[in-house]
Amino acid sequence: MQSRRDFVRLCTMAAAAIGLGPAAAEQFVQAAEKGRKPSVLWLQFQECTGCTESLLRTSHPAIDDLILDLISLDYHETLFAAAGHQAEAALKSAMRDNAGKYICIVEGAIPTKENGIYCMIGGRTAIEIVNDVAAHAGAIIAIGSCASWGGVPSADPNPTGASPAHDILKGKTVVNIPGCPANPYNLLGTVLQYATYGTLPALDAEGRPKFAYGQTVHEHCPRRAHFDAGRFAEKYGDEAHRNGYCLYKIGCKGPVTYANCSVQHFGDVDGAWPIGIGHPCFGCTEKGVGFTIPMHQTVDIIRPTGPSTYPPIVQPQGTVSPIATGVAGLIVGGLAGAGYMASKKLNTLPTDASGTEKPEV
């Protein structure tokens, strides 16, 4: 059994992992001791279970500490020992016992074509299930790109009409945590904040927590200095690629992708993220980028900033067109020539021989 000291340490780690201080850790402890572990109901629809797998690989807190001490995972199809009617019953009772307070986590997209028959669990469509569970949830979190904006199932031609959770749950606040897989610490941060304070983190216009999705990958990429200096890999394995230079030219979507992958690596392994291992970001968190823009197609920079070079004090500007100079020369020469020719002819004209007479009225 875990000692209280170990438990406090666990809470401190959890708090630290999401950027909260010792005061929060204290509150986690108190909440847990009072038996107020928040109930979490985890729904899975059109997904690969990658987000769950990603969660299983966290270490601070580890999944066991998480589900045993910090939250009450009252429904999770993958992690449940139970199945079938027993699982359904667990869902129903959890909903009843924690009405208005449980956290509903949605993983996977929800098909909408033909009334949503492409994903049915226990005889009910995904649409029915999510509407049912979300109706009495205290907080709704969509984990992963599939639940956040449609993800892989929604890729062209989207035969099932795969839709994100917020499209089904219109009018409700849904926290989107996109990524393929989503970074589990983004989820943990959101869940623990809600569990401790009852509030959700500040969200951007697409419902994503600003603490994780407030900046593009480009904006805090460790290879940014290479971008600013114009050092690019042109193809996999070339000299520049081996030197770890910027991957923009081989199609990095970092400039248009809001995510925190560059600062929170995956699997708790330092450097374990796409760019870190030498592959350009493909924009898995962004609708319209991930699974949409071809992998090696370059993107525009949304907010260009300066390179690492400087203009000199005096930089030549303005152009002189040699054609224009030539034309001007021709015109001046032509006028001069014509003028001279005209002047010669003047001598053939009669002069005014009327003396000093003045013109009449």
Binding site: R303, G306, P311
Partner: protein
């Protein structure tokens, strides 16, 4: 015979008088003092690290697009101030000597651009900030000819046809109105550029020179140059190397006022000339008429 009708004489006198009154109400003082509440910037080139946060902050605060002309179009890399860039960091390098320099409108005490502007679109407004009013500008670009620092930039490109503007730093007037400081000063990580009243900034500048005389050039650029500016510079390299021109103590606007004022003082000369000419010509015409001639 040609008669100078009374009506014509009165009309011409009235016209001349009206213009004269109009001209004399704008009496020109020879030299101009900075306004009492003059605010400006102090840029210390010895502190600047060339991070260009001020360039980006200025673009954000003023809603300016990035200048992505250039080989890849990936960076905001203006070569100089232009219609998309109100503030820029340039690099001076000569052997081992380097310095960054921040260039933007100098908010002169006696601006040449204000003296140039026909319809008063460019004016010194609150705190002595020189700012541009598009409703009055005709786009004659005389301000570009006049400015010794080559600051006002015109929107030459197509997007500017419908409303080509004169673009230059206006000390973030819109932010000052909300009680915030200019964007560049707010974001500079080393306080290389700071904001304050001109008096305070001059005092601070001189204090720094006195505290570190071997580091700095002995004078503060903008204290007297070209009649004085409200954006002041401290530097360890000579100012002309940084592209800050050597100007005398008198502003070009004052010189122009002197020359034009000498000719047109009170508009007396043109009116008098008109009177003399009208008299002579009338008399000549009368004589010509009497002698049976007419032009």
């Amino acid at each position: 015979m040609v008669r100078i009708s009374r009506r014509t004489a009165i009309k011409s006198a009235l016209f001349g008088g009206a213009v004269a009154v109009g001209a004399t109400t704008a009496s020109a003082t020879e030299s101009v003092e900075p306004p009492a509440d003059a605010r400006g910037l102090l840029y210390d080139a010895t502190l600047c690290i060339g991070c260009k946060a001020c360039v980006t902050a200025c673009k954000d605060a003023n809603g300016l697009p990035a200048d992505t002309a250039g080989p890849h179009g990936l960076w905001d890399r203006p070569d100089d101030l232009n219609a998309k860039t109100k503030n820029i960091i340039k690099l001076y390098r000569s052997g081992d000597t380097t310095s960054f320099v921040k260039r933007q409108c100098m908010h002169c005490v006696d601006p040449a651009c204000v003296g140039a502007c026909m319809m008063g679109a460019l004016k010194k407004r609150e705190y002595g900030i020189v700012s541009w009013d598009g409703s009055k500008c005709v786009g004659c670009r005389y301000c570009q000819i006049a400015c010794p620092y080559n600051i006002p930039k015109f929107e030459w490109e197509m997007a500017g046809f419908y409303n080509p503007k004169i673009v230059k730093c206006e000390l973030c007037r819109h932010r000052l109105a909300e009680g915030r400081d200019p964007a560049c000063t707010e974001v500079c990580p080393r306080h290389a550029v700071i904001y304050g009243t001109r008096e305070e900034l001059l005092k601070e500048a001189h204090r720094r020179i006195a505290a570190n005389p071997t580091l700095y050039q002995p004078n503060v650029y903008g204290e007297h140059d070209g009649g004085g500016t409200q954006v002041l510079y401290l530097s360890h390299v000579p100012f002309d190397k940084l592209g800050l021109p050597a100007l005398g103590g008198e502003s070009a606007a004052a010189t122009t006022r002197k020359v034009q004022g000498t000719i047109y003082k009170g508009f007396v000369a043109p009116v008098a000339l008109y009177g003399v000419l009208a008299t002579i010509i009338s008399r000549n015409q009368r004589r010509a008429g009497e002698e049976g001639e007419r032009s």
